[in-house]
Amino acid sequence: MSMSLLIVQILNGLQLGVLLFLIAAGLTLVFGVMNFINLAHGVQYMLGAYLAVMFYGMTGSSLLALVFALLAALAFGLFLEFVVFRHLYERDHLDQVIATFGIILFLNQAVKYIWGAAPLSLPIPEYFSGSIVLLPGLTYPIWRLVIIASGLAIALLLYVLVSRTRLGMLVRAGANNAPMVSALGVDIRRLFMIVFGFGTMLAGFAGIMIAPILSVEPGMGDTILILAFVVIVIGGIGSIRGAFIAALLIGLADTLGRSFSVDILRLVMAPSPARTVGPAIASMLIYLMMALVLYFRPTGLFPPKGR
């Protein structure tokens, strides 16, 4: 295993990590503040990607596609909140699961109906296409660096927003004790809507950013949804900081595990069983991590205080 391969895989891991963070941030806030399990969050990610493809086809401009897709994703998220989700906040978690699962079924099929089952693709914006030389003999696609940078920038923005502003204070208070915040005269419904809209937009943004390097297809949100749940559970539900750290941890562990598990296992076993066991362990790795974390910390790494 060469040094440059290791660096490339670490960067890939970071890229997966920030992508997971973008999705998990919204999920953990919605979950933490509203106590609402939104399985349909992954569909927002898929929708973001599809909308970006559609608007790119209409306008031919990556920037306009980004802006319109973000706005459309936000509008659609708020529409869902208005029509379905707000009737579910007071309900049992299981009711929320089944209703949002119904929405997943509907939207996955609707996307297939509208745009077809075949995978679509979105070109990388011209000024970010190509690769860049990081070290002699080590090139890396610029777009992936852009994803990492924008993800980190949003993480920073969220950090400032949550820990330094009045809105963030309310969100944190809501995650600790929503009824109390409401009793203190804060319009909790409006707070919910802001948080929900913001989370929706982040998931849509993740979908838009990943669309150029992944095929855009129905069901693309399902896998990432489960990973995002793993992230927020490891991080501690309701904690942005936990989600960030857990997302990077999961992204790196998954990517590095898949690339190097066989090589590492070959140090301790024969090559042929290593080739069989390696991929199995690699795909199990993040679940193994989750089980371990929950075994020692049954409420995740950074549980919000007061619950």
């Binding site: 978690h93 209703a99 109906y113």
Partner: protein, 318 residues
């Protein structure tokens, strides 16, 4: 309380006679699958409905039971007297071992850690290269019993599955009314109080989790024989999610609600998918409507309708 379950079982029992007039193998096959998943759903309802332990990795138990049979069959061991106990023990042991860890957590964390173990089982099965890996494993011969092959006769097999379902139903029913069941249900209502009363609720919950796993293993044994095939897809998280939706759809914590939910989910899916290719666009909103309008699932809805009916007809009396 006993009328409805009896009616359901009677319906299952009479179906083959009715099916003889139509497309028999298709109907038998469909309802056999419904009954098999009902067995697993019963086990899940025991946990979710009576213990508030939402297991999101339940498909793993089915998968482990199914794989146990198929792997033994691939080594030439088809005798059910061997493969059934192995399937049950494997699923129960997996439930017991993972349960010792899962039951340390509560609420959503429990959902997610059971998912984690379910996913591990899924990926383990996918990596079993000698047994088909991702592609799954075809069973070339169904299980035998004392050297006879009762599973080859579709009708006989159908009634074996029905007998298993009734047996599991009676087992679960007697469990929830027993002392064990009362402690287990008490832990759902107030774990602290039960602990203060001197019950080690962890042990009760672990036992229930293992029993639930065994039911899943039985379903897996039957499923492998019914489809002559096992694959990692049996353990996918979507399957676990479907099982949860089935029991919520029927009505939690009633046991026969689990059967009704499985029946409704499977038949509706089957019907709608015959109607249009985009059946999920109808099915999804239906699920949302059930949640928004029918609290307590279909059984709850039936109860509401019945109450409304009684009220309408009781009014004229002073």
């Amino acid at each position: 309380m006993t009328r409805l379950p009896t009616a359901i079982f009677l319906g299952f029992a009479l179906l083959p006679a009715a099916a003889a007039f139509g497309t028999e193998t298709y109907l038998l096959d469909l309802f056999m699958r419904v009954m098999i998943f009902s067995i697993a759903a019963l086990g899940l309802d025991l946990l979710v409905g009576y213990g508030a332990l939402v297991s999101f990795g339940h498909a793993a138990f089915i998968g482990i039971g199914a794989y146990a049979v198929a792997i033994l069959a691939s080594h030439g061991i088809n005798e059910a007297l061997i493969s059934l106990p192995v399937a049950l023990i494997a699923a129960t042991a997996f439930a017991y071992l993972t349960g010792t860890i899962c039951l340390r957590t509560r609420g959503v964390y429990f959902i997610m850690i059971t998912l984690a173990f379910g996913q591990m089982a899924f990926f383990l099965a996918s990596s079993l290269a000698p047994y088909g890996g991702d592609d799954g494993l075809t069973m070339h011969a169904r299980s035998t019993l004392f050297g006879l092959s009762p599973f080859k006769n579709e009708r006989l097999f159908y009634y074996i599955v029905l007998a298993c379902l009734i047996g599991c139903y009676c087992l679960c029913r007697s469990l929830v009314v027993s002392r064990f069941g009362r402690v287990f249900r008490g832990a759902r209502e107030n774990a602290t109080r039960m602990a203060t009363l001197g019950f080690d609720i962890y042990r009760y919950q672990l036992a229930a989790y293992a029993i639930s796993g065994a039911l899943g293993g039985l379903a897996g044994f039957l499923l492998a024989n019914a489809t002559d095939f096992v694959s990692p897809a049996y353990m996918s998280w979507q399957r676990s999610g479907e099982l949860i939706i089935m029991i919520i759809l029927g009505g939690l914590g009633t046991l026969h609600g689990a059967i009704i939910g499985t029946l409704a989910y499977s038949l509706l899916g089957e019907y709608l998918s015959g109607l249009t290719e985009n059946w999920k666009m109808i099915f999804g909103p239906l699920l949302v409507l059930v949640v928004l309008l029918a609290r307590g699932g279909l059984l709850g809805l039936a109860g509401q309708v019945a109450a409304w009916w009684r009220k309408q007809h009781a009014e004229p009396q002073p």
